[in-house]
């Protein structure tokens, strides 16, 4: 199957000598929901800039649905929608005009552009704001507007560069739902984010980029399987007086307070075993939660490697 995006040996050195990309290669399959993670300054935005033809590459090759972005400019741009990290629409234009103008740049006549604007502004909860000047929108609304704008020409591949940065939790969740729905309808999505929970929730495959190099490129499932320890917080029904001795192998117990226990388990140990052990000691568990975000743990360890 032709990949939605294929990047080969992509390099970028800026005029000031900064080597932002040191030969990255990457493939994303059609229909995928792909996460591109990395710390600040890792090269994610540069890579997206090159794909979107906003940044000149130094070397390498980028293809969108099998077509080179430099030689098949029209078709590749038609297939691609980009939601940038920074707000980049005119602050003086009205919301609906911004989406309609973008549709016009893709050759959609005004009637059709108006239909698209209505469709995506409604989906993203901005229809009520359609006649409002964009500078008056909140940060979250501006981000949603950029998504609506990027979808105006209904691209097959949507790249979002930190779309939920600075967005409150409720709004972030609704954006996740929207993006999942869009992906289920067949749009390939590439997402960069600092919220690792977001990548874990949404994405099937993942690449980690650091200092201009891809240091990991695998499935989310495969990456999480690499975790060799997890920490859970257990709330107990009754007051906890002392820690039970002879905990199961590869398990460490710590008392957090009178009603709370921290359990660290190594490898693929079954959590059920821990529950049975605690139950045998007369400790009943009321609730349980993961102490740290699993992906976050892995991400940090990968960067340290």
């Amino acid at each position: 199957m032709t990949p939605a995006i294929s990047i080969k040996d992509l390099t970028k050195t800026y005029a000031n000598g900064l080597e932002a990309l040191k030969g990255i290669s990457l493939e994303v399959q059609p229909g995928d929901f792909f996460a591109l993670l990395g710390p600040n300054g890792a090269g994610k935005t540069t890579a997206i800039g090159i794909i979107a033809t906003l940044v000149n590459k130094t070397g390498g090759n980028v293809e969108v649905f099998g077509r080179n972005v430099e030689t098949h400019v029209y078709q590749t741009k038609l297939d691609l929608g980009v939601v940038p990290q920074e707000v980049n629409f005119s602050q003086f234009e009205k919301v609906r005009d911004i989406v309609m103008t973008q549709a016009g740049f893709y050759g959609l006549p005004r009637k059709q552009a108006a239909v698209r604007a209505e469709k995506y502004l409604k989906k993203l909860g901005l229809w009520d704001k359609r006649f409002v000047r964009s500078r008056t929108l909140s940060g979250g609304m501006k981000r949603r507007l950029m998504i609506a704008r990027a979808l105006a020409h209904e691209p097959r591949l949507l790249i979002l560069d930190e779309p939920t940065a600075g967005v409150d939790i409720e709004l972030r969740r609704s954006m996740w739902e929207f993006l999942t729905e869009l992906n289920n309808e067949g749009t390939t999505i590439i997402l960069t984010t600092h919220y690792l929970e977001e990548a874990e929730q949404l994405c099937r495959n993942i690449a980690i980029i650091d200092e201009g190099r891809i240091i990991e490129n695998t499935s989310m499932k495969g990456l999480l399987a690499e975790l060799d320890s997890q920490v859970f917080i257990l709330d107990t029904m009754e007051e906890l007086f002392e820690l039970p001795e002879d905990a199961p192998e590869n398990t460490a117990l710590n008392k957090v307070d009178s009603h709370c226990l921290e359990v660290s388990i190594q490898g693929d140990k079954n959590i059920g075993e821990i529950f049975s052990f605690l139950s045998s000691k007369g400790i009943q568990i009321k609730s349980m939660r993961n102490k740290t975000n699993r992906l976050e743990q892995l991400f940090i360890s990968k960067l340290r490697d």
Binding site: A52, Y74, L80, F92, T101, Y106
Partner: protein
């Protein structure tokens, strides 16, 4: 990109540009009309009466073509330079760059926008002029062609300025230190025949001198320069600047890093 898609993209840019300067008409359309009215009152009426004839015409009649041209030049240039630079500054130019719009469509869109403002202000100034003098146009075709070409040339020049500009200072340096002196020394207020021979030769190096004189020939039927030669210079400037703009856009100057 299909031809009809290109046309829609061009139409979109032009509508956006015209909407922009129309929305802020108090900043874009009214000030030139007021400034030029003051020129007519002070230079045309008050001082002009004492100046007497210039080039065989009353002074106010003599300066009308130059003042219309001045408005067209300044407004064509400033519309494109300020609009395109603010697109760069707000990064909304990326909306265009990610879309499949060919470079020449981007250029044409902004240039048509600049010409529209230049010509709109030119028309307003012409109407204002009619309150002060009886305007008779001798060569309508030539007058319209020259004003169109001039608006085109300065819109293109404004586009190049915007491409290279990195700050708001950069978009005011050329209009203040280059364009304004060239306009004032381009024969708007005087006939070059008044100048000593040396300064007449220097004036011959000023492209605006040819534009003002060709336009004056269109309206009054008199000119300090050979009209055919001046027309050719205008066309050469237009072609040269258009080619330069396309080359800069292809290289991504000031846009892609």
């Amino acid at each position: 990109m299909f031809a009809n898609h290109k046309f829609v993209a061009l139409e979109t840019i032009v509508i956006k540009e015209v909407r922009r300067f129309s929305r802020i008409w108090l900043q874009t359309l009214v000030p030139p009309a007021i400034t030029i009215s003051l020129y007519f009152v002070i230079f045309g009426n008050l001082i002009g009466r004492r100046v007497g004839d210039m080039g065989g015409f009353q002074y106010i009649d003599f300066i009308v073509p130059g003042l219309i041209m001045m408005a067209v030049i300044q407004n064509s240039y400033s519309n494109v330079v300020s609009s395109f630079f603010s697109h760069k500054f707000q990064r909304s130019v990326e909306e265009l760059l990610v879309a499949p719009v060919p470079n020449y469509i981007i250029l044409l869109g902004f240039v048509i926008g600049g010409m529209a403002r230049g010509l709109a202000v030119g028309a307003i100034v012409t109407v204002v002029a009619m309150f002060f003098t009886d305007l008779q146009i001798q060569h309508m075709g030539l007058t319209l062609t020259v004003v169109l070409l001039t608006a085109l040339v300065f819109s293109l020049a404004g586009f190049i300025n915007a491409l290279y500009a990195n700050s708001f200072d950069d978009i005011s340096i050329i209009p203040t230190f280059v364009l304004t002196p060239l306009i004032y020394l381009g024969g708007v207020f005087y006939s070059s025949q008044l100048l000593p021979e040396f300064w007449q030769s220097v004036s011959a190096l000023n492209p605006i001198f040819y534009m003002v004189n060709t336009f004056r020939f269109g309206i009054l039927g008199v000119s300090d320069v050979n009209v055919t030669w001046a027309f050719l210079i205008l066309v050469l400037f237009a072609v040269g600047l258009f080619g330069s703009c396309i080359m800069l856009l292809r290289k991504g100057t000031g846009l892609r890093f």
